[in-house]
């Protein structure tokens, strides 16, 4: 079973996603993980038996570009990452603006100690 995880820079994401789409890969999954005060974004692509994950490390408060321009189906999972983790994702074509889930807490899965900055944002 192949599960490669490639660490890439934030700036390369769009270009690599376009490349993947041209090569016929399907966007399978987007996942955010909170690591200390920062985030890790994983974009998994699948082509038949191959699976490849692009990994980007984000600094706190660092925004990331949305993939919805290339893969429109990314909107649900990007909204989820933004809402549950507080990742700042820019230019989602269908942005729910933290109204996807009916939850009281802002970014419940996000960094614990320092939740204050999210309320300002």
């Amino acid at each position: 079973m192949s599960d490669r995880i490639l660490k890439i820079e934030k700036g390369d994401l769009l270009q690599m996603a376009v490349q993947k789409k041209m090569d016929g890969w399907r966007l399978a999954q987007i996942c955010a993980v909170t690591i200390d005060q920062a985030y890790e974004m994983s974009y998994t692509f699948v082509k038949d038996k191959d699976m490849e994950t692009l990994r980007i490390h984000l600094q706190p408060k660092e925004p990331i570009i949305s993939l919805t321009q290339i893969y429109p189906c990314a909107f649900l999972q990007e909204n989820e990452a933004a809402e549950l983790f507080g990742v700042l994702i820019e230019n989602i074509t269908m942005d729910y603006k933290h109204k996807l889930y009916r939850i009281d807490v802002k970014a419940p899965f996000g960094p614990k100690e320092d939740a204050s900055w999210q309320n300002e944002a």
């Binding site: 079973m1 399978a28 993980v33 699948v46 038996k49 189906c73 909107f75 649900l76 999972q77 939850i103």
Partner: protein, 359 residues
């Protein structure tokens, strides 16, 4: 000039018991756009992985969904075992595959029943569910639960099935095949059912691929992909291939699911004849440290499990991308241009599981 109006659909709607809300933008009777809105049943089960140790979490993972419950438990166990490099005994792998395929049969029969119900064909709905009950009885006898089995464990399975019971299951499956025949004929050949399903909600292969459709939804549009072929559990030893159709309409999706039930029967017969003896679980030492992505083919489509351990007994992150999450974008494509009266049926044909999606 057609009159534009917006009609809210759901979250409570007779066609499916789960809460999904859609804002349907209509021009006269034709849907021009659908804006989905979920989030009524978010339970934060992924977060729970940080407070329940990794062996306990199997039981939580199972309870993500009522229908694919075994699959979610299996996916979670497979991913943790992959991280911890545990070699699961062969018999346990076969037993897992057995329960997984039975789950597929019961999920597809449930869906067929719901489809018949959406068409207003109550008698067919009843017959499908009657047949499904036989699978649930097998579950009850082998695991002790009808829906939630709690037989998976990191390192194997908890309960064994003896030879006489396996033989009995084999006989029940042959009986079911005979009983399925008239139901299948009705779905595929009856004029009334046909006129409701044929040519409705056509999803082309390109559309399906770009929108990220998975499972029977993708295979009905001609995408030749089944993640069982990646060879988890005992699938590497078994003989099968993806079942596809080319039409991409509701009829094709129904046909693919029916054919998958028949395929599952065949896989199960082969599996029962091949099942090896031996242990059903291995002791697990230590804690998971590392990460991995695993694909499992659920009845509804491909699900992706991500596990990240940090060397303690609590995992850092467990992510579950359910098939419905992937199937909602193609569903929106289907809805564009359809009649208002067809909306419930089209939503149903993706086999949505909203509480799975929100976890």
């Amino acid at each position: 000039m057609a009159k534009r109006s917006i009609i809210p659909f759901g979250p409570q709607h007779p066609v499916l018991p789960e809460p999904i809300h859609l804002d349907l933008v209509l021009e006269d009777e034709v849907v021009v756009e659908a804006i989905p809105n979920i989030g009524f049943v978010h339970r934060g089960l992924e977060k729970l992985v940080e407070t329940r140790d990794f062996k306990q979490y199997v039981y939580v993972a199972e309870r993500v969904c009522g229908i694919c419950s075994f699959g979610h438990g299996l996916g979670y166990c497979e991913s943790v075992e992959h991280v911890m490099h545990i070699d699961v005994p062969k018999r346990a792998r076969y037993l897992r595959t057995l329960w997984m395929e039975l789950s597929r049969i019961h999920s597809h029969l449930l869906w067929l029943g719901l489809l018949a119900d959406a068409l207003g064909f109550e008698a067919l709905f009843m017959q499908s569910w009657r047949l499904r009950e036989k699978v649930l009885d097998i579950f009850d006898n082998t695991t002790g639960g009808r829906i939630i089995f709690s037989v998976n464990q990191i390192g194997g399975v908890l309960k064994d099935i003896d030879a006489s019971m396996l033989k009995e299951i084999d006989t029940i499956l042959y009986d079911m095949e005979t009983d399925l025949k008239p139901i299948m004929d009705t779905f595929l050949e009856d004029m009334l059912v046909n006129s409701r399903l044929r040519g409705l909600g056509v999803l082309s292969k390109e559309q399906a691929y770009l929108a990220g459709a998975v499972g029977p939804m993708a295979r009905a549009s001609g995408i030749d992909y089944d993640s069982r072929e990646t060879g988890y559990a005992a699938y590497a030893d078994l003989n099968f291939g993806p079942i596809t159709a080319t039409e991409g309409d509701c009829y094709a999706r129904c046909k693919v699911r029916l054919a998958e039930i028949l395929q599952s029967f065949e896989i199960l017969h082969e599996l029962i004849s091949k099942i090896p003896g031996g242990d059903i679980n291995v002791p697990v030492k230590g804690n998971p440290n590392g990460e991995c992505f695993i694909r499992i083919e659920q009845p509804r489509g491909e699900a992706i499990y991500y596990t990240k351990g940090n060397g303690t007994k609590y995992l850092d992150r467990f992510r579950l991308r359910t098939p419905t999450t992937s199937n909602i974008p193609p569903m929106l494509d289907l809805l564009k241009g359809c009649q208002l009266g067809d909306v419930p049926l089209l939503i149903l044909t993706i086999d949505p599981c909203i509480s799975c999606t929100e976890r």
